[in-house]
Symmetry: none
């Protein structure tokens, strides 16, 4: 009927295209928007409501979650000495070298005080965050830190750890014989 009449105009191609593409585009936009909102709802930390911020927060959140998963897996491995599975890299938190000064090598002394218990004295220059890294290194190695005493007379610091050992003593020694790993 009328449908065929209008076609003789020049505008057919354009009009048809516009009309169909229009609604399709609308749907696409709407879908995108919905997913963005869903993503925003999943992310607890919302800095701002704008799209870019939503994405940015989502990115950070994903990173945080991944770190958290990694940590938990490491912790689980620690508490469960025999455990199969994962080949994913753990225990790699030691090597973080952005340090240029060569002096101040830590003096390390290991003495055995029980069947699987050790005193570990680390005497070195004070570095911010170094102690935490030391702790993390040990715990990530499966060492149970029973007691720790840190005494500073700047710029020097003496760390005394009492650790319950799960792994071998040789492992400990090998680790602490690479001072650069501890910086």
């Amino acid at each position: 009927m009328d449908e065929e009449e209008e076609e003789q105009k020049i505008g057919k191609s354009a009009r048809q295209h516009s009309c169909k593409n229009l609604v399709a585009e609308r749907k696409r936009r709407e879908k995108l928007k919905d997913r963005l909102y869903i993503l925003r709802a999943l992310v607890p930390k919302i800095s701002k409501m704008d799209r870019a911020s939503i994405l940015g927060d989502a990115i950070e959140f994903v990173k945080d979650l991944q770190n958290q998963v990694k940590r938990l897996q490491e912790q689980l491995e620690e508490t469960n000495p025999e455990e199969d599975g994962g080949e994913q890299g753990g225990a790699g938190a030691l090597c973080n070298g952005d340090n240029s000064d060569e002096n101040g090598l830590p003096q390390v002394e290991v003495s055995q005080v029980g069947s699987n218990r050790f005193f570990l004295k680390v005497f070195c220059e004070h570095r911010r965050g170094g102690f935490v890294r030391l702790m993390e290194a040990m715990t990530s190695l499966g060492l149970d830190i029973v007691n720790v005493n840190v005494t500073t007379s700047e710029p020097l610091v003496l760390n005394v750890f009492e650790v319950e050992v799960i792994n071998l003593k040789s492992l400990i020694l090998s680790i602490f014989s690479f001072p650069k790993d501890l910086k």
Copy 2:
């Protein structure tokens, strides 16, 4: 030539606005695109490359990660009933509370021993990794940890920190008065 004629018609306001808005819009689009790509790079499961799919995959991935975290936490609690893995310790990542167990509240005591120096005693149940998180929390708050002494008689542990304060005491108190944040 013709350009100047046309400008007088509607006025230059429109043109200037267009020109500035144009480039701004371009930047916005580009930023959005970049973040989308970053997000896509973080997500291992990539079904398709189109925007909606990227968002969809990201959504699913976040859900998966959350489930995984939950599972790991449960597992950790299960194998080691006394301990609790907690929130990840990042900068300012203290407030992330879904916490149900109420027992084992740490006793915290803060005493001022100098103009900006404090003793901080934290007496609580021993939790694996808890001490490191404590340290990280403090350092991330700008506290200079001068001295620390940790003494354990399982399952209890007494942490004594001597800290040089950069921020306000009220900040410290406010933080340590919410024990659930320290888990």
